[in-house]
């Protein structure tokens, strides 16, 4: 039996923090004295460069704003998941390194998940899954994750931790149990763990291993970071939605276990800005919660006797190496690919033929339609935020149900795109095609779509754009911005000038 070797890296304790969003600037200002750490998801602060290169570049303005914040900075990736058969996207590597160089985090973290769906056709590119999806917990996935972590550590040049993900699926037949799966990867990869207690709470509430049992399997000295969040109930599932303050049982679990984590470096609260507005969560209540977290952080120093968990399962040697995946372990690699294809296709509403069902337990898993509706909620959110006037014109003319049906038709034929702009462009093209085929008739929809795409292009390229209109455009745009249709329209040949947006202006 192999023993778990202790972690070599021991992070400097940084303190209590929050995940950064530009929309939360007001909160960071209000709660500045309660925050020791800011956690940045760097990909959310990258732009796609205009043109055809598809390269990414940092949003300098946003990075400068973050760098000026007095707190320590940590980096939490959302684009290089570690349990994926697909190699890291090469175009992400330079901005990832630049982000690390600018923010100088003592360690970085990523998700133990996947978000690309390998294509079944030879030489075809993979698809974006639309969501961070859970891996199949098997030896083959562990081997891939161990290799990915080594790769990320090498290209990041700082210690790497993986986040324990939420998993709404039932345990698959023959799967390694949650705690053992995470423990063996952390030890074999010699890396850290981001213990997301809300994720574990979701998993337990949704039928997976109990939090206590997971913790008892983990190498506690490898837990460098703890995440806390709130969620919501959706069709009987508790979702990791980052949509509220931390539930009491999650906070109590944190209180119980934090003193047992000798290498805890940061305690981070995650909340999506839109929910603060939607639920009218008072800033003072967030401040009170941060104070509670500060109290727990300082109280943890009364450390309980540490019992480092020892796995009963041996840590297997690596059986898969990315550079040689076509050799001896192609079959093992294929098992992971089949999982990614099966789950990715099902949660995106693609039909899977009987002969291609490699994981029959997925077929009647009620979490699959839950994932599907969550992906659709993200896709619809992207469209209404990116094309708000076009959406309003559609909804006001055809009704919301018909408009949503158009979106669903678009999703059934087009895979999710990781970039909001590409989703917008795809939906715009889909609607233009329907207009051209005379299957859709909404006055001036083509004009408004072109206008919103042009605004996006002006913002991304920094170059002014001109958009033709078949009616006087201002009355139309003004009415839609008020959620109204114009009382009348004046036909004619017009062209709207869309000014360039200066990236350096606030």
């Amino acid at each position: 039996m192999a023993h778990l070797k202790p972690a070599a890296f021991s992070p400097t304790p940084l303190g209590v923090g929050m995940v950064y969003f530009p929309a939360l600037d007001f909160l960071f200002e209000h709660c500045s004295n309660l925050l020791d750490v800011i956690e940045i998801e760097p990909q959310t602060l990258w732009f796609r460069s205009p043109g055809t290169t598809n390269a990414h570049r940092l949003d300098d303005r946003a990075f400068e704003r973050v760098i000026r914040l007095p707190q320590h900075k940590l980096i939490h990736g959302v684009g290089l998941p570690l349990a994926a058969s697909e190699k890291f996207e090469s175009r992400q590597i330079p901005p990832w390194r630049q982000s690390i160089s600018r923010l100088n985090p003592p360690w970085i973290s990523e998700h133990l998940a996947f978000m690309r769906i390998p294509n079944k056709g030879q030489g075809k590119t993979s698809h974006h899954s639309g969501f961070l999806l859970p891996p199949l917990q098997c030896q083959e996935t562990m081997d891939i994750a161990i290799a990915r972590i080594a790769e990320l550590r090498k290209l990041s040049a700082v210690p790497v931790a993986f986040e324990i993900p939420p998993n709404y699926l039932r345990p698959q037949p023959g799967e390694i149990q949650d705690g053992d799966f995470f423990a063996q990867i952390a030890t074999a990869a010699d890396c850290g763990i981001v213990l997301d207690i809300h994720n574990l709470w979701c998993n337990e509430r949704n039928g997976r291993q109990k939090m206590q049992d997971v913790l008892e399997r983990l190498p506690l000295d490898r837990i460098w970071e703890i995440h806390l969040a709130g969620g919501d109930n959706h069709h009987g599932y508790w979702l990791d939605a980052h949509s509220d303050l931390v539930p009491q049982p999650v906070m109590e679990f944190c209180e119980e276990w934090l003193p047992r984590l000798p290498n805890a470096g940061a305690l981070i609260f995650e909340i999506m800005p839109v929910y603060i507005h939607a639920k009218k969560i008072p800033v003072d209540r967030i401040a009170t919660q941060l104070e509670k977290m500060k109290f727990l952080w300082h109280a943890r120093q009364k450390i309980l006797p540490i019992t480092i968990s020892r796995s009963q399962n041996p840590v297997h040697s690596m059986t898969w190496i990315p550079e040689h995946s076509h050799n001896v372990n192609a079959a093992a690699y294929q098992k992971v690919v089949r999982w990614e294809q099966s789950l990715g296709e099902m949660v995106n509403g693609r039909s899977v033929s009987i002969q291609n069902i490699h994981f029959p337990a997925l077929v009647d898993d009620p979490a699959v339609p839950v994932y599907r509706t969550l992906i659709e909620s993200f896709r619809s959110g992207t469209l209404v935020e990116g094309l708000p006037l076009s959406y309003r014109l559609l909804a006001l003319t055809l009704g919301e149900n018909v408009t949503y049906s158009l979106m669903k038709e678009f999703w059934s034929g087009c895979w999710p795109e990781p970039f909001a702009y590409d989703e917008m462009l795809g939906f715009s093209t889909f609607l233009h095609q329907k207009i051209n085929d005379k299957k859709l008739s909404v006055n001036f929809l083509d004009n408004v779509l072109n206008y919103e795409i042009a605004v996006a292009q002006a913002q991304m390229s920094g170059q002014e754009q001109f958009v033709p209109f078949d009616c006087e455009p201002i009355a139309l745009l003004e009415a839609l911005s008020r959620w109204e249709l114009p009382a009348s329209h004046t036909p004619g040949k017009f062209e709207v000038q869309v000014p360039a947006w200066n990236m350096q202006e606030p």
Binding site: D240, S377, S380, V384
Partner: protein, 77 residues
């Protein structure tokens, strides 16, 4: 004859009889609120962030508007 909103700044396009229109400040401010939100998500990777929940932006769009002081207010529709 085409009737034009007098608030619009007009510039005849030199190559044709198309009327070029710049969005006036009174309208621009309202649109700018919308475009500011759009700007936040444009071209950015990982807009899902580290979250595995329901995205309420769609529901939000249907229920709320942003006024010219950037306050979000609920609308009755």
């Amino acid at each position: 004859m085409v009737t034009i909103n007098p608030a619009i700044s007009l510039e005849p396009k030199s190559t044709s009889n198309v009327v070029r229109v710049a969005v006036p400040a009174s309208v621009h401010n309202n649109l700018e609120m919308i475009q500011k939100v759009q700007r936040e998500i444009l071209g950015k990777l990982g807009c899902l962030a580290c979250c595995s929940g329901w995205d309420i932006r769609f529901d939000f769009q249907k229920q709320f508007v942003v006024d010219k002081n950037m306050n979000i207010k609920e609308i009755a529709r």
